[in-house]
């Protein structure tokens, strides 16, 4: 990356953070959204993939529909309209997931249906800012990718520590941390990964700052 790019990034840091949903404002590790499914149901990569499929088909369509309809709604109406739209979309997503993926979808219990009211899907009902359809699509896909990265990472780490496997493939013959399969293990692993994530963000911000100052000095 060129020095002038770093200057631009540093000058527009807040905007950069807002746009980079996968890394700088990851919905799980930075904002703490969708914690229930990740902490409790995210014990194996298979579960993680099922959660990611549900979020992929739920988040962006819900945002598009709500951005089209809720432009003139007040906050109390939005509070219920967002979950209502997401529940309707979810009914179809859940039905087709059940039809094509079979009973393994049911193994996630309440943690798949609970996505309909998760702040990851319906988080912006309290905002007064109106979203355009294009912005909803872009923002929805960015949030989805952020969730996918975090969810699969947590699931892979938990499966490896709890069962010694990754995506069902045996890696080592011993379970290093069996508690990783329980909710308290999930809290701890998400906390540690979130800590590592925020350290990486801090280091990146420092690097951007140093490079931007260096570039200013050169010019």
């Amino acid at each position: 990356m060129k020095n002038k790019d770093y200057s631009y990034l540093y000058a527009n840091w807040d905007d950069t953070v807002r746009r980079r949903k996968i890394t700088l404002s990851n919905p799980v590790f930075v904002k703490g959204l969708a914690l229930a499914p990740v902490v409790v149901a995210g014990t194996t990569v298979q579960n993680g993939i099922l959660l990611c499929i549900a979020v992929f088909f739920l988040l962006t369509p819900t945002r598009i529909i709500t951005s089209l309809i809720t432009r003139h709604m007040s906050v109390p109406f939005k509070t219920f309209f967002y979950p209502f739209v997401s529940a309707l979309v979810f009914a179809f997503v859940y039905y087709y997931m059940y039809r094509y993926l079979g009973t393994r979808v049911l193994l996630l219990g309440v943690y798949l249906p609970i996505l309909v009211i998760d702040p990851l899907i319906v988080k912006n009902f309290e905002k007064t800012r109106k979203e355009s359809v294009l912005y909803s699509v872009i923002n929805g896909l960015r949030n989805t990718m952020g969730f996918v990265v975090a969810c699969l990472l947590v699931c892979a780490v938990r499966e490896f520590l709890a069962f010694g496997t990754i995506a069902g493939i045996k890696v080592i013959g011993v379970a290093l941390l069996p508690m990783a399969q329980y909710s308290f293990g999930g809290f701890l692993i998400v906390a540690l990964l979130s800590g590592i994530w925020s350290t990486a963000i801090r280091n990146y911000k420092y690097k951007v700052k140093v490079e931007a100052m260096h570039s200013e000095r050169l010019s």
């Binding site: 979950p83 529940a87 219990g109 249906p113 309909v116 009211i117 809290f187 540690l192």
Partner: protein
Amino acid sequence: MNDFLKMMVEFFGYSLVAIGAQNAIFTRALGLSSGMRMLNDPKKNTFYFCGALTVFQVMTSVIVYYVMPLVTAMGFGAYRRFVLPTIIVMACTVSYVVVITLLSRIVSKEKFKDLLKSVTSASITGAIVGTVLLTNYQGMNLVQSIGFGLGSSVGYLFAMLLITEGDRKIAHDKVPESLRGLPITLVYISVLALAVYGLTGHAIAL
């Protein structure tokens, strides 16, 4: 008399299970994201939020309990599982309208304004939807559903009080910079969840 006693035992038994072994936050992480948002929002009051959540929880449990047989009677029995979240969201909406209408008549205008934000946020959270889903999946009867719902809300209140107090007392300047904020709160919740598990010795089925 025997039936009444049996009903009371069932009610309190399910409430206790929901407060301890099946705690909404420490065991099931239900409504955790909303709880964390409330923690960071000084405009929302923990007691108002959890009090409203308890009322909504009980009302939603009762409405869904009576509506689901109608869904089956209308010929949608095979799709119960898929339409259940929509029914729960609609039940939450009805509960909210009833509570807000009553509140606007009972309390003063200033107090109503003060309550509105906490009540609106509490009206539809993971704790409510998750608990109602659980009571439906496990085929609980009305007494068990209300007992479990009430216990779940009380357990949520206890958990949020512990988390709020813990978060206030953590000396953030002594916490390593990497763990400040969300990570240290999750570590704290993890320790409490481990303590609950140690006390009850009960792992949940999803």
